[in-house]
């Protein structure tokens, strides 16, 4: 995974956000085993306690579930419940939309203009894609 960590916000919160993006984008699929805390921490170059805290948070939100594994009590897997993942996907989309709308309004565009700009942009990029 690619990690992008700023030092002016709690690191564990940023890990939660970035792991959620991995779930939404399908980098981690429902039912997949999650790499060990140690491996994830080494990958993100953060302290193991910090990664542990992020995983525990995702577990408490139900996005990760303890994996039935006799030997490694700390094993986790991605939830099979797609509705939970869809829910965070929608929340994530909403926050991008809020951010976008706020920026467009601060440029002085009214709502009608924003809608028509979006429609115009979508149709342009669609025709390019074809």
């Amino acid at each position: 995974m690619t990690w992008n960590i700023d030092y002016d916000r709690p690191i564990w919160i940023q890990l939660v956000e970035q792991l959620q993006v991995a779930l939404i984008s399908g980098e981690l699929n429902p039912g997949d085993a999650v790499p060990s805390v140690r491996d994830l921490a080494a990958d993100a170059q953060v302290n193991i306690n910090t990664m542990q805290r992020a995983l525990a948070e995702l577990e408490s939100r139900g996005l990760l579930v303890p994996k039935d594994n006799r030997w490694r009590a700390s094993g986790r897997a991605v939830t099979e419940d797609r509705s939970l993942i869809d829910e965070i996907k929608l929340n994530y989309a909403r926050s991008i939309l809020e951010d976008f709308t706020q920026k467009m309004r601060s440029l002085g565009l009214d709502d009608g203009e924003i809608v028509s700009k979006v429609a115009e942009y979508l149709s342009k990029t669609r025709s390019k894609g074809e």
């Binding site: 030092y7 916000r9 690191i11 140690r38 921490a41 080494a42 170059q45 953060v46 302290n47 910090t50």
Partner: protein, 246 residues
């Protein structure tokens, strides 16, 4: 902690005894005070940064922990014991001075450590050397500065100690070597042990720290969990710069 009760059964209470405890620790060199009334407790499973400018007392504390200096007053306890034979069994110490013999081969230093410390893991050591592509037959004196620092660090981290005390582990090495050293520290982390590392290069180490202790002019200015500092919208580095502004 009540482990100052001399009758306390240490084996039964070992779960509650901090790995490191400093109580009202003071150190003066003659009339010059260098540590003034330090109280520090380090529990298991933490990576703690001892941060401060040069001359703030970091190395003095580390020498007190390792029994290289004796306190003027107050005490240092490692797993409930004062510095001595017992504490040296459980502390793995990376000193600020390079004491490796340039005439020895890397392999000789490994044998030396292996003879000296019963918790030294040759397997771990050779594994890390291999990943660094350092030949064990190389003479210490012919290693580059960065590789020599890495060898010193992995010798320290190859012990299965309780408390790792690292004095300026990322001192004079380049950013890539720095990353390697920090990775090594993270990878060898165990929930049963803790790491105390001193540095003034805060932005480089802050991502791996659980807790920070800011020291200045022989006094502890501030101690907190690193994420508590960030919850106030500041990086540890920013807070450090604000605390130590001239």
């Amino acid at each position: 902690m009540q482990n100052n009760d001399s009758f306390l059964n240490t084996s039964a209470a070992s779960a509650d005894i901090p790995l490191l405890e400093c109580r009202n620790l003071c150190k003066s060199y003659g009339a010059l005070p260098v540590l003034y009334n330090w109280n520090i407790t380090i529990a298991k499973g933490r990576i703690v940064g001892l941060l401060g400018p040069n001359g703030s007392g970091k190395t003095t504390l580390i020498k007190l922990i390792n029994g290289l200096l004796t306190p003027t007053s107050g005490e240092v306890l490692i797993c409930g014991n004062p510095p001595g034979v017992e504490s040296k069994k459980v502390i793995s110490y990376l000193s600020d001075k390079d004491a490796l013999d340039s005439g020895m081969r890397v392999e000789d230093t490994i044998n030396l450590y292996s003879d000296f410390f019963e918790d030294f893991s040759e397997e771990r050591m050779y594994g890390m050397l291999k990943r660094l592509s350092i030949d064990p037959m190389t003479k210490i004196g012919t290693l580059s500065k960065g590789n020599r620092e890495k060898v010193r660090l992995i010798l320290t981290m190859s012990r299965e100690a309780k408390l790792y005390v690292l004095d300026e582990p990322i001192g004079g090495v380049d950013p890539a070597a720095r990353d390697y050293i920090l990775d090594t520290i993270i990878k060898n982390y165990s929930p049963e042990s803790s790491i105390l590392l001193s540095t003034h290069l805060i932005s480089d180490v802050e991502r791996i720290l659980d807790d920070v202790i800011f020291v200045s002019n022989g006094q502890i200015m501030f101690a907190d969990a690193a994420d508590n500092i960030r919850a106030q919208g500041k990086s540890v580095d920013q807070l450090f710069r604000e605390t130590y502004r001239f």
